[in-house]
């Protein structure tokens, strides 16, 4: 027969829970409660439980903004993935000293304000900016191209903003691929291209998924870059949310947009996270 645990033993057993209790309480207070409040507010309309959502989706302009936001977030994620993969691959395969320098250089933009980085893109893509000036001096174009205040400018700005996060997510994964795998693939006659597509790329999928979650949710939520590089014709959910909350004082619509953005972010994290963990589990079995 087992003796009942003493009080000290019971407190010891609770130890880890007691240690996380203060942080959990603080998080609950500053994060969960306001988020829950926002969600609850999005459903509190005298016209009905889903009235705010019905009103939001009934407006074709809101639907346009939502589709545009997802498209911009998706394309900036894809751009970040392509650019970030190249950068991360280079960093992962560099010598220790060079690796450190390249990592610092790739993370350095994160230390600069989003506003400054967006304004710097205005200087690059503007009518008298670096790109137009170079193209005109080379005689490729005779008049400045309209690059600013387009969807392309917003995507480029977001990709520039979030590519460091993609690089950080991928470097660790690429570094952990065993050299033996490359050697084995090579000895079996695989070309470098085949090695990349059949070894490197599949093994990097978990890092790509984590990076994509960070970039997609970040691109969806960011406010400054679409405002400065896109303006009204490139209105996104984040800018529409700001407009509804801070200028039109339409809190019902603002809460609804916030809830939609939150739902999308959670959906991405859950679905892509599940895919990543299944891939990891399958790899562990094999």
């Amino acid at each position: 027969m087992n003796a009942r645990p003493s009080l000290v033993e019971r407190i010891n057993a609770l130890g880890p829970w007691l240690l996380v209790l203060p942080a959990t309480a603080v998080l609950a207070f500053i994060l969960i409660i306001p988020v829950a409040g926002t969600l609850a507010e999005s459903f509190s309309n005298p016209a009905g439980f889903f009235a705010n959502y019905r009103d939001f989706f009934a407006d074709s302009y809101n639907r346009t903004v939502m589709i545009r936001s997802f498209r911009i977030a998706f394309l900036s994620t894809l751009t970040s993935l392509i650019l970030g993969f190249g950068g991360a691959y280079m960093i992962a395969n560099a010598s220790q000293g060079v690796k450190r320098v390249l990592l610092i250089l790739s993370v350095f933009p994160l230390l600069t304000s989003v506003v400054v980085r967006s304004f710097s893109f205005m200087a690059i893509l503007g009518r008298n900016g670096v790109v137009n000036t170079a193209l005109m001096k080379l005689g490729i174009i005779s008049e400045p191209m309209e690059m600013l205040f387009t969807q392309g400018a917003v995507i480029a700005g977001l990709a520039y903003l979030f590519t460091p996060l993609m690089i950080l997510s991928l470097v660790g994964v690429l570094e952990n691929i065993e050299d033996d795998l490359y050697l084995a693939a090579g000895s079996l006659g695989a070309s470098p291209v085949a090695v990349f597509f059949q070894v490197t790329l599949p093994l990097a999928v978990p890092g790509m998924i984590v990076g994509s979650i960070l970039v997609f949710t970040g691109s969806l939520a960011t406010f400054v870059t679409p405002t400065l590089l896109g303006g009204e014709p490139q209105m996104t959910l984040a800018t529409l949310l700001y407009q509804k909350a801070m200028i039109s004082f339409d809190w019902g619509a603002a809460n609804t947009i916030a809830a939609i953005m939150m739902g999308t972010a959670i959906f991405c994290v859950v679905v892509l996270g599940t895919i990543a963990s299944r891939i990891s589990a399958r790899r562990a079995v094999h």
Binding site: Y61, F119, G126, R127, F149, E232, M246, S248, F249
Partner: protein, 345 residues
């Protein structure tokens, strides 16, 4: 006995330590909600004299107009709030402000009529500003003399226009109606059809004065629809930019004082407003803040140089078009939807 003497001494020391703290606490805190950029002026010219006269400590709460209005309305803790007339009208419509008894303002009679009760029995205006057109005079041979010039074909891709949800945005719609020969409030279809014709000329719709300055200084746009408070920065960035003399006149913009319903020091707030609209405070503001702070007190006398960038004098005040924010807020949702159809697709 020794014990009681020690106790007495300890009590005396404690009392000495506590008394300054108590008296410091006795000084009331008076909260003014204001934009951040003008506090450098307010500190020596308004806050300090007011603090001395009323034995209070002035504390400022800064930020953009909508967020400050939201905070004052929902959270409270603000005694006086400074807003543009668009946002003070929103606050009035939300029932956020006290009415003001102007008989308690000794300087009230010195105000121009337009500044006395611009929005009913609520706060008086404390500055006049203007909303008009600025442009780089070296980039066009034909000067801009009318709002309707914005639709000129030679201005394709040249104009920076305020977004709808700014103070100036809806005023452009009013002018579009006028240029189309109708009234935008009665016939919004015609006004927005005219706005759609303006679209090819718009390079960007902006949300802040600094964004406009950036667009004009980098040459992205050479025409801007601007409020005069932004003009010095614009001209510093590009000296070729000047203010257009428009046949229809600029729009009159006003900033107002209001007392939130949940303010703690309402009588003191009246005293603060009274002090701020006095001749001396108004003159100091006109001279120190330079642009966007045309005096509302008609007894203020300025030299031509001091008045050069200001809305100053009865003639200037009367020549401007009024901004009917009560009417504009009534049609806000409809116009916003129409605007998004034109510029947001």
């Amino acid at each position: 006995m020794l014990h009681s003497t020690s106790l007495l001494r300890a009590s005396a020391v404690a009392a000495l330590l506590v008394v300054p703290a108590v008296s410091a606490q006795a000084q009331e805190t008076f909260v003014v909600s204001n934009w951040g950029y003008s506090n450098d002026f307010y500190e020596p010219f308004i806050f300090e004299p007011f603090e001395k006269e009323h034995n209070v400590k002035v504390v400022t709460e800064t930020g953009g107009a909508p967020e400050r209005l939201n905070k004052a309305r929902i959270r409270g803790g603000v005694d006086v709030i400074l807003l543009t007339d668009k946002f003070s009208q929103i606050g009035i419509n939300q029932g956020a402000f006290e009415t003001i008894d102007d008989t308690k303002l000794s300087n009230f009679d010195e105000l121009y009529d337009a500044a006395k009760n611009p929005q009913g029995d609520y706060g008086p205006a404390y500055t006049f500003g203007r909303y008009g057109i600025v442009y780089d005079k070296t980039r066009t041979d034909t000067p801009i003399t009318s709002w309707c010039d914005l639709w000129r074909e030679d201005f394709a891709g040249a104009i920076a226009m305020p977004a709808f949800n700014t103070t100036g945005g809806p005023l452009t719609v009013m002018m579009a109606g006028k240029c189309a020969g109708s009234d935008a409030f009665e016939d919004p279809d015609t006004a927005f059809a005219k706005m759609a014709e303006l679209k090819p000329n718009i390079v960007k719709t902006f949300s802040s004065g600094s964004e406009l300055t950036n667009l004009l200084s980098t040459g992205e746009a050479f025409i801007g629809l601007a409020q005069d408070y932004a003009f010095p920065a614009i001209q510093a960035a590009n000296p070729n930019i000047g203010w257009a003399e428009l046949s229809e006149g600029d729009f009159r913009m006003m900033n107002t004082y209001n007392i939130p319903k949940n303010a703690k020091h309402k009588e003191l707030a009246l005293a603060f407003i009274d002090f701020s609209i006095s001749m001396q405070a108004q003159k100091d503001a006109a001279i120190e803040l330079v642009s966007g702070s045309g005096p509302v007190n008609k007894t203020v006398e300025l030299t031509p140089e001091q008045a050069s960038q200001l809305v100053y004098g009865e003639k200037a005040v009367l020549s401007m078009q009024p901004t009917p924010y009560d009417k504009l807020l009534e049609v806000n949702d409809d116009w916003e939807s129409r605007w998004n159809e034109v510029f947001g697709r």
